[in-house]
C-alpha cells in the first residue's frame, strides 16, 4: 500500500477551498450547520472555550475521517472491487472497430493491444447478460459505424439473471449511467463508493495489512498442475450446480426457475442483437474455449438445453456465431490460468483467431 505524508494544513486549505467552490445554497447550509453546533455547544456548556474545544475536536475527527477514507480508497482491497471500472474511466478511443461484452469468460478471453483492429474489452466479471446490455447501451457510441460487438456466451449465461443484492451492483456506480443501474441508490454511492469507510469500517485493517492486488490479467502461464486443474473444474461445476440448483447435468430436465431465466435471457439476447443491427453495428456471438477438463464435465444434452438452443432461439436474425468451446486450437492447458479462463498468452492467441475469423464473415 502506498503511504504518503499528509500535512493537516493542506487538508484545511482544501476544505476551505472546497467551501469557496460550493454553490450558494450549500454555503448557507454549511454556515447554518456550524452555527447550530456552536450554539448548542454554547448553550450546553455555557463556556466559549469548551465550545471552541468541542468544535476543534469535531473538525479534527472529520479530518481523520477524510484522511482514513482517502487512504482506504488507495488499498488493493478497494481497487480490486472496482478493477473493471478503470477501463471505462480512462479515455476510451473513439471510432472503435470492435468491442466485446461478457462476464469473466469474456474478460479473460480478449486483449486487443497491438492487434490489427482497434478494440476494447468491455466485459466485467461477474456479470449477467442484462448488464452486458446496459454497458453496451451506455458505451456503444464509441464504436464506429459498422463496428463489431462480440457478445460472449458462457455455459450458464442463459440462467443468470441480475444479482438480487443491490450492493453487488456497486461496481457499476463509477462508470454506468445511474438510469441503467438496477435500484440505483445515492446512499450506496455515498457509503460504498465515495466513503467506503462508512460501509466497511472493518476494512480499516487493510490500511495495515492489505490484500494482494488482483493481477490475474498479467498471468501468462498456468500455475495449476493437471490434478489441480481437474479439481478446479470440479469446483466450478459444483458452484454452478449450487447457484442454479441443478442436480444432474445429464437429466435433460430444466427446472422451472432456470426455464424462466432462459426465456428471459432469450428475449434479452434477441433485443441486444436487434439493438446492434438498428444502430448499424455488427453483433457476433462468441463461445470462448475452456480447458478439456472443464469441457468434459458438460454433457451434450446439457449444452443443447442450456447453450445451443438458447442461442438458436435468440438468434432469429441469424447473426454469426463463433463457437470455440470445442476448438482443438485451445486445448493446451498452458493457455489458461485455471480450468476456465485464458491467461495472457491464451488471450492473445484467441483474440487473434477471433479477429481472423471475423474477417471472413
Amino acid at each position: 500500500m502506498k503511504i504518503t505524508n499528509y500535512i493537516p494544513s493542506q487538508y484545511i486549505a482544501r476544505v476551505i477551498n472546497h467551501y469557496f467552490y460550493m454553490n450558494f445554497r450549500k454555503k448557507i447550509l454549511a454556515i447554518f450547520f456550524v452555527s447550530i453546533i456552536l450554539a448548542v455547544n454554547y448553550l450546553l456548556t455555557d463556556s466559549l472555550l469548551i465550545c471552541c474545544c468541542l468544535l476543534a475536536t469535531m473538525a479534527l475527527s472529520l479530518l481523520i475521517f477524510i484522511l482514513v477514507n482517502k487512504q482506504l480508497k488507495q488499498t488493493n482491497w478497494y481497487i480490486n472491487h472496482f478493477i473493471d471500472s478503470q477501463k471505462f474511466l480512462r479515455n476510451i478511443p473513439h471510432n472503435l472497430e470492435i468491442c466485446n461484452l461478457g462476464s469473466n469468460p469474456g474478460k479473460f478471453a480478449f486483449d486487443y493491444d497491438d492487434m490489427s483492429s482497434k478494440g476494447e474489452n468491455w466485459a466485467i466479471g461477474p456479470q449477467s447478460l442484462s448488464y452486458d446490455f446496459r454497458v453496451l447501451k451506455n458505451y456503444f457510441s464509441y464504436l464506429k459505424d459498422g463496428g463489431i460487438v462480440l457478445i460472449t456466451i458462457a455455459p450458464l449465461s442463459s440462467c443468470l439473471r441480475d444479482y438480487p443484492d443491490d450492493r453487488s451492483n456497486a461496481k457499476y456506480y463509477p462508470f454506468l449511467d445511474t438510469s441503467l443501474i438496477v435500484n440505483y441508490s445515492s446512499g450506496i454511492n455515498f457509503s460504498y463508493i465515495r466513503y467506503p469507510v462508512l460501509s466497511a469500517p472493518k476494512a480499516i485493517r487493510y490500511l495495515i495489512r492489505d490484500v494482494p492486488p488482483d493481477n490475474r490479467f498479467l498471468i501468462n502461464t498456468n500455475p495449476m498442475s493437471s490434478e489441480e486443474i481437474e479439481q478446479d473444474a470440479v469446483n466450478w461445476l459444483k458452484g454452478w450446480k449450487n447457484q442454479f440448483s441443478i442436480i444432474n447435468l445429464n437429466s435433460g430436465i430444466v427446472s422451472e426457475e432456470n426455464q424462466s431465466a432462459i426465456v428471459y435471457n432469450t428475449k434479452l439476447l434477441s433485443e441486444m442483437i436487434d439493438f446492434c443491427l438498428v444502430r448499424n453495428l455488427k453483433p457476433v456471438l462468441v463461445l470462448p474455449p475452456v480447458t478439456k477438463e472443464l469441457r468434459s464435465k458438460f454433457p451434450e444434452i446439457f449444452l443443447e438445453l442450456y447453450v445451443y438452443s438458447f442461442i438458436r432461439n435468440s438468434n432469429t436474425q441469424h447473426i454469426k456465431v463463433l463457437d470455440y468451446f470445442n476448438d482443438e486450437r485451445f486445448i493446451d492447458n498452458g493457455l489458461y490460468f485455471n480450468s476456465f479462463f485464458l491467461n495472457s498468452k491464451g488471450r492473445r492467441l484467441f483474440t487473434n483467431s477471433v479477429l481472423l475469423d471475423i474477417k471472413q464473415i
Binding site: 447501451k137 458505451y139 457510441s141
Partner: protein, 279 residues
C-alpha cells in the same frame, strides 16, 4: 449571403447563434452582453446547462444596457432528459420561461431522443407549440431512425430544427442531407470541434486561413454557413465572439469546401450514448 434562415413554419432564425454551455454567472452575463454588442441575435441555452436562470439575468442586462428588445432576439432553450422522465412537459416550459424571464421562446428543443420517453415528450411539445408559448419546436441529436419513429407515431408536427454535432472532424453529410430533405433545418453544436489539435494543425485549414487572412475558426464557421448549417459557437471572450461573427466578407469556393469535408473522421467529441444511454 442571407443572414437569415427560414424554418418550415415560416419563422425566421439568424444564420449564426452563440452557444452558452458551460458558461455561468459572471462569465455568461459578460459573454451575452458582449455577444449582443458584436451582432449576435440568436442565443442557445438549455435547462441541463444549469445556467438558464443566469441566462435570464444576462438577457435582462442586455435589455438594460443596449437598445435591444426581446423581439430583436432569437432565444432557444432545451428540455432535458430529467424533465422528460418527469413527464410534465407542459409545466416545464413555464419554468423555463420564468427562468429566462420572457413570455415566449423562439425555439424549444428536445435535448436528446431519450429512449422510452421522447415520443410522448414530442407530443406534449406539440401542445406547447400550439399554445403559442414557443414559436418553433425542434430536436437535438436526432438520427434518421429517431425521426422515422416520430413519423410512425403519427405526430402532427415534424421538428423544425435538428441540432447535432458538426465540425470538420465530423461532417455528418448523410444526416444533413436526410434532415434537409425532410425540411428540418440543421444547427451545429461544437461547430469548432473544440479546436482539436487535428484542426489547428491541419494544412488545409492553415492554407485557407492564410489565403483569406482569416483565422481557422472563421474558416470553419464560414464552411458551416455556406452549407446552410447554423453554427452555435461558444466563447467567453469578447475578442473571440467578435472574430466568430466576422465571417461574412469572404466566400469559400466549392473546391475549398470539399477540401474541408475531406478532414472528416466521423469523430464524435461527445459520444451520444454517454449522455443518452440506449440512444
Amino acid at each position: 449571403m442571407n443572414s437569415i434562415r427560414v424554418l418550415s413554419n415560416g419563422v425566421e432564425i439568424p444564420c449564426i447563434g452563440m452557444g452558452t454551455w458551460p458558461l455561468n454567472h459572471k462569465n455568461l452575463i459578460a459573454a451575452v452582453l458582449s455577444g449582443m454588442n458584436c451582432g449576435y441575435r440568436a442565443i442557445d441555452g438549455a435547462r441541463d446547462y444549469n445556467n438558464e436562470r443566469c441566462l435570464g439575468i444576462s438577457l435582462q442586462t442586455v435589455y438594460q444596457k443596449t437598445e435591444l428588445k426581446r423581439s430583436d432576439l432569437f432565444i432557444t432553450s432545451k428540455i432535458g432528459n430529467g424533465q422528460q422522465i418527469k413527464g410534465n412537459i407542459t409545466r416545464q416550459i413555464d419554468e423555463t420561461l420564468q427562468n429566462i424571464k420572457t413570455d415566449y421562446l423562439d425555439l424549444w428543443l428536445m435535448h436528446w431522443p431519450y429512449p422510452g420517453y421522447y415520443i410522448e415528450t414530442w407530443k406534449q411539445m406539440e401542445q406547447v407549440y400550439l399554445s403559442g408559448k414557443v414559436r418553433a419546436i425542434g430536436v437535438c441529436n436526432f438520427r434518421e431512425r429517431h425521426l422515422k419513429t416520430l413519423t410512425e407515431a403519427h405526430v402532427s408536427t415534424l421538428p423544425m430544427i435538428n441540432q447535432i454535432e458538426i465540425h470538420p472532424l465530423r461532417t455528418a453529410k448523410e444526416e444533413i442531407a436526410y434532415f434537409t430533405s425532410q425540411s428540418v433545418l440543421v444547427e451545429a453544436y461544437t461547430p469548432l470541434g473544440l479546436m482539436d489539435k487535428r484542426l489547428i494543425e491541419s494544412e488545409t485549414l492553415k492554407l485557407l486561413s492564410k489565403s483569406y487572412n482569416k483565422t481557422i475558426p472563421q474558416i470553419i464557421l464560414r464552411w458551416h454557413i455556406q452549407q446552410g448549417i447554423i453554427p452555435l459557437p461558444k466563447s467567453g471572450s469578447s475578442i473571440r465572439l467578435k472574430e466568430n461573427i466576422d465571417i461574412f466578407d469572404f466566400t469559400l469556393s466549392d473546391d475549398e469546401i470539399l477540401k474541408i469535408d475531406g478532414l472528416n473522421e466521423n469523430y464524435k467529441l461527445y459520444p451520444e450514448s454517454i449522455y443518452c444511454p440506449g440512444y
